[in-house]
Symmetry: C2
Subunit: 201 residues, 2 copies
């Protein structure tokens, strides 16, 4: 096509747009809240973006929620190349870093340079978990599948033989981003254990 | 559960979170960019939120892109009750208004009052298309399926016997939100017609 002015930028952006559509085909371990099927990364990213908008008051005061939303929309893009890693598979999580960096080079690299840089910085901020925005974003990323497992009477937990102790490691990550959501998550774990949907090790 | 302080608000927010998960099961007419399956409203909402981040420079100067993203994340929530309306089915589009208002009452109404109001305002702004933010958001909402139809050699257009004249009505809506994207969309239509993937009436 022959678009001007700024046509080269627009073409690069459209190439990126076509590429990231693939996130809809990256399938996660957890299911929808009704257990009907496994969730994909794109709808998951929408969902936790919405959670940021709705649960924002449970982040530390001053947290930039627009930045949290932006971070959550891009946080899984690298999985187009690197695939989803099951959070309880520690060996896979460790091997994932290099794969994801290469994926970030390739995928963000489709964009005009300063845009590539801006989006990659959002992803790196999410990964590094140093800012309140990144910690809250990570908390929501862990909170959503926990809610789904709680609602589906154990869901992925029983399927993959995850223990309460392992889930409590994730509760800590939620607490670091939001004490209120951490407390809520801890109660979900307690309830799931007491109902027999989550086993202690 | 027994969360305090702010526990009532959190409980209402979690009820809302559980409810909106259903958007992942609202199926649209258009397919993914590779034609492999039809798209759902949740992944569609993520996708056009990403487009707002990436194509924002093609909105009028001064457009608040964070607000565009927020608007796009909530814009289809009413379809949990009202269902997706095929944009080329004019009779269905006309009947949809009342259904969607009722859906907005019920779904946003699950939230604490001032949050319900804030999210409902985003949805109404999107529907009314009076602000640059809403017009740009609507442009992206129309642009994405057009891109998918163009990439899948006519996709939904040929399936539902949509004509070039009908698609050009949508190109106008895209132009109103972004002249550059409107020009790009008009070129896609021309190309699709010349390749025999879209018929003139
Ligand atoms: Ca729609």
């Amino acid at each position: 096509m022959n678009i001007a002015p700024g046509g080269d930028r627009l073409h690069a952006q459209i190439e990126f747009a076509l590429e990231i559509d693939k996130l809809k085909r990256v399938i996660r371990r957890n299911t929808l809240m009704d257990g009907s099927r496994r969730e994909n990364d794109a709808e998951h990213s929408w969902y936790i973006g919405m959670l940021a908008m709705v649960l924002g008051e449970h982040a530390p005061p001053g947290t930039d929620l627009d930045r949290v939303v932006a971070m959550l929309l891009v946080h899984d893009l690298v999985e187009i190349d690197a695939g989803d890693t099951f959070v309880y598979d520690r060996a896979a999580v460790a091997a994932q870093g290099e794969l994801e960096r290469k994926a970030a080079d390739r995928i963000f690299g489709l964009l005009p340079e300063e845009q590539a840089k801006r989006l990659r910085e959002l992803w790196e901020e999410f990964e590094e978990r140093r800012t309140p925005e990144a910690r809250f974003a990570r908390a929501l990323d862990r909170f959503a599948p926990m809610l789904a497992n709680h609602r589906t009477e154990g869901g992925t937990w029983s399927l993959y033989k995850v223990t309460a102790e392992q889930v409590l490691e994730n509760v800590k990550i939620i607490e670091e981003g939001s004490p209120a959501l951490g407390a809520y998550a801890a109660e979900m774990v307690e309830l799931s254990v007491s109902r027999g949907h989550l086993a202690r090790s």
